[in-house]
């Protein structure tokens, strides 16, 4: 019942904060967001699950199953955690609390609604990662859209309404498509499943022969069709080139704390779902088309990095580099090795912290300077040494400096993808993706060189001083998370590997 308690506490907190007076909303939201944070840490310390929640032989932690209704298929309230979802839950709660604190400075109107919606968003995100029934999962998946739409549309930048509706339409159409894709698969499975429980569907698929033909199409075609629809639906969320265009708009217009959650957690919904649905349920299709998927992944890495290189706006730089980083996740997934999928999952967590940190630090600079343009400022190091220190550290984390989490994640991914038996020309794909790191280093170093160092100069008329402590504190916390995970990846890597090994084993293994 711990997961339910976590969800209910978050939802109640959202309701209370939404109608609280604006003056106290920020502090109240921070205090209440500590509840799910503490809860998730408790879940982590107390975690005794093993195996992959979707596959046989697993021991799902904190599992609850309650029948909800029977409409053709039995729908259930089915939640539980394994080594893949638990780290994402922890990531969500830490980032939400950090984002709430980082909102104290920039959010100066309708505070109670802002914090209420952030907590509602957290509720949806926790639900997405905890749900083990397709319908329940889909409800949470859609619930996430609603607060996000408002958060961008109300507190965003000048083009916020356009960005919000673009985000809403893109991701909602994507949801519709993946919904159709999954249901096609389930319908084709006929009587071999009686519920929409993800474990049941996955296990029936792994047992083989479950998919029948539907509307005259052969089982293999149906699988491919379902895989393609779901892949497309999740690819929009990730996002993968070429369906990434909503992301820069949403990021640039969203207020900083929202960007933090968008890059830190929302994108991981897409990769998490890819792992859970496409790569766990239909490994056959994934390996058949491994080269195509790997090519898309490498394209995302390189193209995203090139786009980042061309930007003048610090936030856009970070936004595009997220696309690049998500490409590594896809590459790791398609490698189907312990290191590959494990590294991809670890990259989700690591990138969650690092990109959140990057957006936050850019936001702190913006709070003081009111500009994000690279050409408008230089020599920030003189005026705000702490912020700049963290900025530099975060950027090096992004570039994959050893002893930071990004290094561990990328090393795992490349180790896993280099020698994988499931992908022809694997070394070539890996080498091409590695080249992305060079570009990342290029644009980050160049941007820092111009904005942080040299003579102090500012294109806007603002007094720049050190940022207040409550702006720095969440930065420090996130940086600490990045370093701790870099020094000791096994905090999460152990349980991740335990959870993804069954997937790898089902394909015959491979390190």
């Amino acid at each position: 019942m711990l997961i339910e308690a976590l969800l209910i506490a978050t939802l109640l907190a959202a309701g209370v904060v939404f109608f609280a007076p604006d003056r106290y909303a920020g502090k109240l939201a921070t205090a209440l967001s500590v509840l799910p944070l503490a809860g998730s840490l408790w879940l982590w310390l107390d975690f005794e699950g093993s195996g992959n929640a979707l596959l046989e032989g697993s021991d799902i932690a904190y599992e609850t199953t309650i029948e909800w209704m029977d409409i053709g298929y039995t729908l259930q309230w089915h939640v539980g955690l394994d080594g893949v979802s638990l780290p994402l839950i922890v990531l969500t709660t830490i980032l939400t609390t950090a984002a709430i604190v980082s909102a104290w400075t920039p959010i100066d109107e309708r505070q109670s609604q802002f914090y209420g919606l952030v907590l509602l968003l957290e509720f949806g995100l926790l639900g997405v990662f905890a749900a083990l029934d397709f319908f329940l999962w889909f409800v949470f998946w859609e619930v996430v859209l609603v607060p996000m739409y408002f958060l961008i549309a109300i507190w965003g930048g000048p083009r916020r309404k356009y960005a919000a509706i673009k985000f809403f339409v893109y991701t909602n159409v994507a949801s519709l498509i993946l919904f159709v894709g999954f249901l096609t698969l389930v319908f084709a499975m006929g009587d071999s499943v009686t519920t929409l429980g993800l474990p049941e569907v996955a296990q029936a698929l792994h047992a083989g022969g479950a998919v029948g033909s539907i509307a005259g199409f052969a089982p293999e075609t149906v699988k491919l069709f379902a895989f393609a629809l779901m892949f497309f639906g999740f690819a929009v969320k990730v996002p993968i080139v070429p369906v990434h265009t909503w992301l820069p708009d949403a990021h640039v217009e969203a207020p900083t704390p929202v960007s933090v959650l968008l890059a830190g957690v929302l994108l991981k919904m897409g990769t998490y779902a890819l792992l859970r649905f496409n790569f766990t349920m239909l490994p056959g299709v994934a390996t058949d088309y491994a080269e195509l998927i790997a090519a898309i992944a490498v394209l995302s890495v390189i193209y995203g990095a090139m786009l980042a290189l061309a930007q003048q706006d610090l936030k856009r730089i970070v936004a595009y580099s997220s696309i690049s980083s998500m490409g590594y996740v896809i590459l790791g997934l398609v490698a189907y090795t312990t290191y590959g999928i494990g590294g991809a999952t670890f990259q989700m967590i690591s990138h969650g912290f690092i990109s959140g940190l990057m957006f936050m630090v850019v936001g702190v600079v913006y709070n003081e300077t009111h500009t994000r343009m690279v050409g408008d400022m230089s020599g920030m190091a003189d005026r705000m040494p702490w912020t700049v220190g963290i900025f530099v550290a975060a950027a090096f984390g992004y570039m994959g400096l050893p002893l930071m989490s990004g290094f561990a994640a990328e090393v795992f991914v490349f180790l896993g993808s280099f020698g994988t038996p499931h992908l022809s020309l694997a070394p070539l794909f890996t080498a091409a993706a590695m080249f992305g790191i060079v570009i990342v280093a290029g644009y980050l170093l160049w941007a820092m060189q111009r904005t942080l160092f040299g003579e102090f100069d500012l294109g806007t008329d603002y007094e720049v001083g050190p940022a207040p402590l409550h702006d720095i504190a969440p930065l420090a916390v996130l940086l600490a998370c990045v370093i701790v995970l870099g020094v000791n990846p096994d905090l999460f890597m152990g349980m991740i590997q335990d959870a993804i090994n069954p997937i790898v084993d089902s394909l015959g293994g491979g390190a």
Binding site: F19, W68, D70, I71, V139, E142, V143, A153, V169, L176
Partner: protein, 506 residues
């Protein structure tokens, strides 16, 4: 009716009589105290609430006891389907009565207003139970006549009177078509009672050949299309819903529409069984066309509206199109659905009933929110609703729930009812119909979110002054929102009832 042995058969009339008696009590109260002041309005609202909730409780209780009573030589039947719909009518009536309390506070003839609402509700309960074409016609007229007067209730308001007249003219024409259709069916089969009509068709003793019967069925469809506001008998709906007092718009677009559908379900499932009539006239084809045209026209027209009430009116037409899919995908055979032990037809009708039930709450709630805005003198256009959250945060949250639920996002039960309906249609093999419905559904998100955007995101064009917070309207809006959300976890229980009712009918 076995479980009710202690009660005589006519006790089955009780849910319907609850409405009728309330209407009469309201008339009596009015004749005792003809001058309206605030105290008497509270009494009237109280009586109305008690009456409508009594109908809900009675029908809910009978529904749990499950049984069928035939009265008046089988012309009137109380079964699970009729009780399900009576509970629905009672719920909507309760919301409308509560919401009207503040809306009509400044108007004359309050008691008459309420009793007309209850007379219409009585008619709806009778429609749900009518088991013969003659009884159905009388019941439909009992719904229509008070409705005309209610639409024109704001008699100093040009729009209201014009809407009433337009509704009346189209209504009169549709009634004529409906009753002519009934006479043709009677001429062909020599029977009025639904099961006897079916018997006559099955034994092939048709007078005047199948052509007469086919024409009769087509005309009956016309009468039903009017009640459900389906294209091409829809063009009264936007006018009437826009001109009518907003609670009445909610009443007509939820309850009155549901009454049209229960009649359709019963007539076409019982009187014109598809296997028997498909040689003369395959009515699923007619409903297929109606459904596609209705949902497409409704949604596209809604997307182009500048006025909120009109947008809701067209969206209501669109939703009628979704429910019509239940009849369009009807097979008349016992083909099993995805749900074990349930025929696909039962699933379809049950899903249609569920959508109407959920719609009854979310749509009535949305119109009551408009009533609240009208009460405050907020204008009619989308822009006039800009930034309304500042004045009414709680009601705005409720409205957001209604709109997202109408659009099919899973914040309310609208998502589930639509999903089950689509699943039934897929079960009947009509993939392409579901694709059309999905496109429509995606489009609907656009215009519903326009209002959400106005409420929360845009800044007001002019300063508005709102100082009164009407308790009744607020209670009704919030109540409807709470039920809309609660139907999400409670969906399973209600769906079982609905599907059981549909199976019992078939």
């Amino acid at each position: 009716m076995d479980p009710l042995v202690s009660l005589p058969d006519w006790a089955g009339l009780a849910p319907m009589l609850a409405f009728g008696v309330t209407a009469l009590v309201l008339f009596v109260l009015d004749s005792i105290e003809p001058e309206s002041d605030s105290l008497s309005l509270t009494v009237l609202t109280g009586v109305g609430l008690i009456g409508s909730l009594a109908a809900v409780v009675l029908s809910g209780w009978f529904l749990l006891e499950a049984g069928t009573v035939e009265l008046f030589d089988g012309a009137y039947i109380v079964d699970e389907m009729s009780l399900f719909f009576t509970a629905l009518f009672g719920s909507v009536t309760a919301l409308v009565v509560l919401g009207s309390h503040d809306y009509i506070a400044e108007e004359d003839y309050q008691a008459e207003y309420y009793s007309l609402v209850f007379l219409a509700a009585t008619g709806m309960a009778m429609v749900a139970s009518a088991n013969s074409l003659a009884a159905a016609f009388v019941a439909v007229e009992l719904v229509s006549l008070p409705s005309y007067a209610l639409v024109a209730y704001l008699k100093h308001n040009r729009g209201s009177v014009e809407a009433g007249l337009k509704y009346f003219l189209v209504g009169a024409l549709s009634s004529a078509i409906f009753v002519y259709g009934i006479s043709l069916v009677y001429g062909a089969t020599g029977a009025l009672q639904f099961d006897m009509v079916a018997e006559a068709i099955a034994t092939d003793t048709l007078t005047g050949g199948p052509g007469i019967l086919g024409l009769g069925i087509l005309m009956v469809i016309g009468g039903i299309a009017f009640k459900t506001a389906a294209v091409p008998f829809h063009f009264w709906a936007p006018e009437a819903y826009e001109g009518a007092p907003a609670p009445i718009s909610g009443f007509l677009s939820s309850a009155s529409k549901a009454a049209g559908f229960v009649l359709a379900f019963r007539v076409f499932a019982v009187a014109f069984p598809l296997q028997a009539v498909s040689g003369t006239f395959d009515w699923t084809l007619a409903f297929l066309v109606l459904s596609v045209v209705t949902m497409t026209l409704g949604n596209f027209a809604a997307a182009t509206q500048e006025k909120v009430k009109r947008m809701l009116a067209y969206s209501s037409i669109g939703h009628a199109g979704y429910v019509l899919m239940a009849l369009a995908a009807f097979s008349g055979t016992g083909t099993e659905s995805l749900l074990a032990g349930v025929s696909n037809d039962s699933l379809l009708l049950g899903a249609g009933m569920m959508h109407l039930l959920v719609y009854g709450f979310m749509n009535t709630g949305a119109f009551l929110f408009v009533a609240l805005a009208e009460h405050w003198g907020v204008g009619r256009r989308f822009e006039d609703y800009n930034g309304l959250w500042r004045d009414a945060p709680i009601a705005s949250v409720a409205m957001t729930v209604f709109l997202f639920s109408l659009a099919g996002l899973p914040v309310g039960a609208g998502f589930l009812s639509k999903y089950v309906l689509f699943m039934g249609v897929i079960g009947a093999g009509l993939w392409w119909l579901v694709v059309i419905a999905l496109v429509n559904s995606a489009l609907s998100l656009y215009y519903y979110s326009r209002l959400v955007k106005a409420l929360w995101i845009e800044t007001p064009e002019t300063q508005r002054e709102i100082d009164s917070y009407p308790v009744g309207l607020y209670a009704a809006v919030v109540g409807a929102a709470v039920v809309t959300v609660l139907l999400l976890p409670g969906f399973g229980v209600a769906t079982e009832e609905a599907i059981a009712a549909a199976s019992a009918l078939l």
